[in-house]
């Protein structure tokens, strides 16, 4: 029987990785990812998990080890954050085009400078285009479930791509929540052993990672892009199977009180919980407000998102990332380009909030909705607005 326990989300994620029977875990410590890898290291030390924990000398080495491990045919997991994720950056592009499955939980954190260990999404937005499947968790249960789902999808022979599960640092990683930890038997049913299509094996030698001359490079990248697009089908299928076994159903885009809504907030990650509270409060005031939460960020669920908008007239997209000098935040830009010149498309306003661990409160969401309503009447001068910033 699965058990519902009060547990720190990081520990629960490590337990999920254990239930997934991960075989190689190269990891380097960085706040706020540490509790995940500490607990995994402990599980290996206690013989609860038959795996190799590699205490590497940097995140770059962690990701390099992951490439070697996955290519050799082992189920591979790592976890990182912010500066560490950026140190991996050079390597992150490689396993995806080489189709090496692995799972990484990113405890999202702000990028230096100034150095901040607290939560926002700048670290992962820098890595937006690495060609990994990416999901965002809202709460602890989802973090556990999405981690199991990630292994299932990444290693599916029709997909064979690396997978990042994003969890908000501290606001998710370090909180204690009631979480249902699944049964080993059920997890085994959901997640068959890793059988890669190709691996490094002297009995069948292959060459992995060759030189792509100009006649080849474009085709290699398009093949990767098509694999990402095709992956969506298997992502959805795995969520269906997950629901059958575990009774919890996930969708690429979640709608909250969107029926008849005129204004929709668009969020990713744990601030969505506060956003729901804000929606409830505004609904109580008679405002027709709803929430769209993006769970699947890459491949972007274009169809599902368009459908989820319904008849809304205004979208208020909240980014937890401020790219200096850009048109707007990356999620805002994504949605603007998705809906550009589509007849009847809503007006889209882009907001930046919750940088470097600053809370996005119910009041802030109300402010965002108010501003969006105002902007719909009178076009703002800027294409985005930073919420809750002091001027003096």
């Amino acid at each position: 029987m699965s058990k519902r326990v009060g547990i720190e989300v990081s520990i629960a994620i490590a337990e999920a990785v254990g239930l997934a029977r991960a075989e190689v875990i190269p990891a380097y410590p960085i706040t706020p990812q540490t509790h995940i890898v500490e607990h995994l290291s402990e599980m290996v030390a206690n013989g609860e998990l038959d795996a190799e924990f590699i205490p590497v000398e940097s995140e770059h080495a962690a990701m390099s080890c992951c490439c070697g491990s996955s290519a050799a045919g082992a189920r591979t997991f790592t976890s990182s954050s912010a500066q560490g994720l950026s140190l991996m950056s050079e390597i992150l592009y490689i396993p995806s085009t080489m189709r090496l499955p692995m799972v990484m939980v990113v405890a999202n954190r702000a990028m230096s400078a100034p150095i901040s260990i607290w939560n926002d999404h700048q670290d992962i937005m820098v890595q937006r285009d690495i060609g990994w499947i990416q999901t965002f968790a809202e709460n602890g249960q989802e973090a556990v479930d999405l981690t199991l789902h990630a292994f299932r999808v990444a290693e599916d022979r029709n997909v064979s791509l690396p997978f990042i599960v994003n969890i908000d640092g501290f606001t998710l990683s370090h909180v204690i929540e009631p979480i249902e930890l699944p049964d080993q038997e059920d997890v085994d049913k959901f997640l068959p052993p890793f059988k890669p299509r190709y691996k490094l094996d002297p009995r069948r030698p292959i060459t992995m990672g060759p030189v792509g001359i100009p006649e080849v490079y474009t085709e290699a990248k398009v093949a990767h892009d098509m694999a990402m697009r095709k992956a969506k089908r298997y992502i959805l299928k795995a969520w269906d199977e997950f629901a059958e076994i575990f009774g919890r159903k996930y969708n690429p885009v979640e709608s909250y009180r969107t029926e008849d809504a005129e204004i929709l907030l668009v969020t990713m990650g744990s601030i969505s919980e506060t956003a729901m509270t804000a929606v409830d409060a505004m609904r109580d005031d008679g405002q027709k407000v709803g929430l769209l939460r993006i769970r699947l960020w890459r491949p972007f669920p274009s169809q599902e998102f368009r459908k989820a908008i319904g008849k809304a007239k205004v979208l208020a997209v909240v980014d937890r990332c401020l790219p200096p000098g850009a048109v707007c935040g990356p999620v805002g830009a994504e949605i603007r380009s998705l809906l550009y010149k589509i007849p009847g498309a809503p007006k889209i306003f882009s907001f930046v909030a919750g940088l470097g661990g600053r809370d996005v409160t119910v009041a802030r969401f109300k402010e965002i909705v108010d501003k969006a309503r105002q902007f719909a009447k009178k076009r703002p001068r800027e294409l985005y607005e930073v919420i809750g910033v002091r001027e003096k």
């Binding site: 590497v56 070697g68 491990s69 045919g73 094996d201 030698p205 060459t207 030189v211 080849v216």
Partner: protein
């Protein structure tokens, strides 16, 4: 003494393995001493091996898609991280063998890179893998500069050598630093086996590589690899130059087994370094004073090595 060495009788010129693990049709330059060294490394290891190659000449010339010169499993990820990729492969095979998912039969894990990938950009990754004690061997094919990008100086470029980023000029005589002693850095990790080798002494090279593979834990072999293109030497002289480097004490051959230095080939009647320097255009701007300095320093370095060997 290392128990794994007891059964190994050594390669003989008469019965060298015929099988080529690296095929013809690779794109190395004419007279490339590096690919020759790599060929010998692979002959010593045989086919039960997985190769993790750093970015560099050997990676480029053996793998332009859709052609591969490799007859063994091979992976290239990036420039600086071959030792970490090898760590991942080795760990994966350890757990998979334990779980009965792959045969228990031993497979050597080879990480291979040039002097830049080894002594400069990749030093941290190698240090990490050595310190963690993975069972693999790292081979550095040292052609003493960044050849793949057009002959820029590295930490392993010898004193006085001309490269495209250590050009001699009115205020410079070429590389101003002495060659970085990467084998000594490997030794400092207390790994069980470290050696230097040269393709001119092919049996010595192959025996060292085999020993590096046999030993449990990390091993390091630093191989001198002449580069006619980067050094401005004649292609047909690559093996001769490799031999001269040993005979002039410029590149001494030795092993360090469990910390003990053993000179493989004691040079009692050394040839003058000038004889070595004049085979290569990269040294031709050097005047007598610089050549004298190099001679004195080569002698001193060799003395240091002898003392290390005598201490046992």
């Amino acid at each position: 003494m290392i128990p794994e060495f007891e059964k190994f009788k050594g390669f003989k010129a008469k019965n060298l393995p015929k099988e080529e693990l690296l095929s013809s049709g690779h794109r190395a330059c004419q007279g490339c001493g590096e690919v020759l060294a790599l060929r010998m490394v692979m002959k010593a290891l045989g086919k039960d091996v997985i190769v993790c190659n750093a970015t560099g000449c050997m990676e480029i010339i053996t793998s332009p898609y859709p052609h591969t010169a490799w007859n063994v499993p091979w992976i290239h990820i990036a420039f600086e991280n071959a030792a970490a990729v090898a760590s991942g492969v080795e760990s994966a095979r350890r757990v998979l063998a334990r779980k009965g998912k792959i045969p228990k039969k031993h497979v050597d894990i080879l990480a291979v890179g040039g002097d830049g990938a080894t002594g400069d950009i990749g030093l941290q990754w190698i240090s990490g893998a050595f310190e963690r004690g993975h069972d693999f061997l790292y081979v550095c094919l040292d052609n003493e500069a960044y050849m793949n990008t057009g002959v820029q100086r590295s930490g392993c470029t010898p004193y006085g050598a001309m490269t495209t980023t250590s050009p001699p000029g009115k205020k410079s005589f070429g590389q101003v630093t002495w060659k970085k002693n990467v084998p000594a850095i490997a030794v400092a990790h207390n790994i069980p086996y470290v050696a230097t080798a040269s393709p001119a002494y092919f049996l010595d090279l192959m025996n060292k590589v085999k020993k590096a593979a046999l030993v449990k834990g990390p091993a390091y072999v630093h191989i001198y690899s002449p580069c006619p293109t980067g050094w401005g030497s004649a292609g047909e002289r690559s093996v001769e130059i490799a031999r001269l480097a040993v005979e002039t004490k410029v590149f001494p051959l030795y092993e360090v087994i469990e910390g003990r230095y053993i000179i493989s080939r004691k040079i009692t009647k050394p040839k003058p370094v000038e004889e070595y320097l004049k085979t290569q255009r990269r040294f031709r701007h050097l005047d007598e004073e610089h050549i004298d300095y190099i001679q004195r320093r080569v002698d001193a370095e060799y003395e240091k090595l002898l003392r290390l060997a005598e201490m046992d």
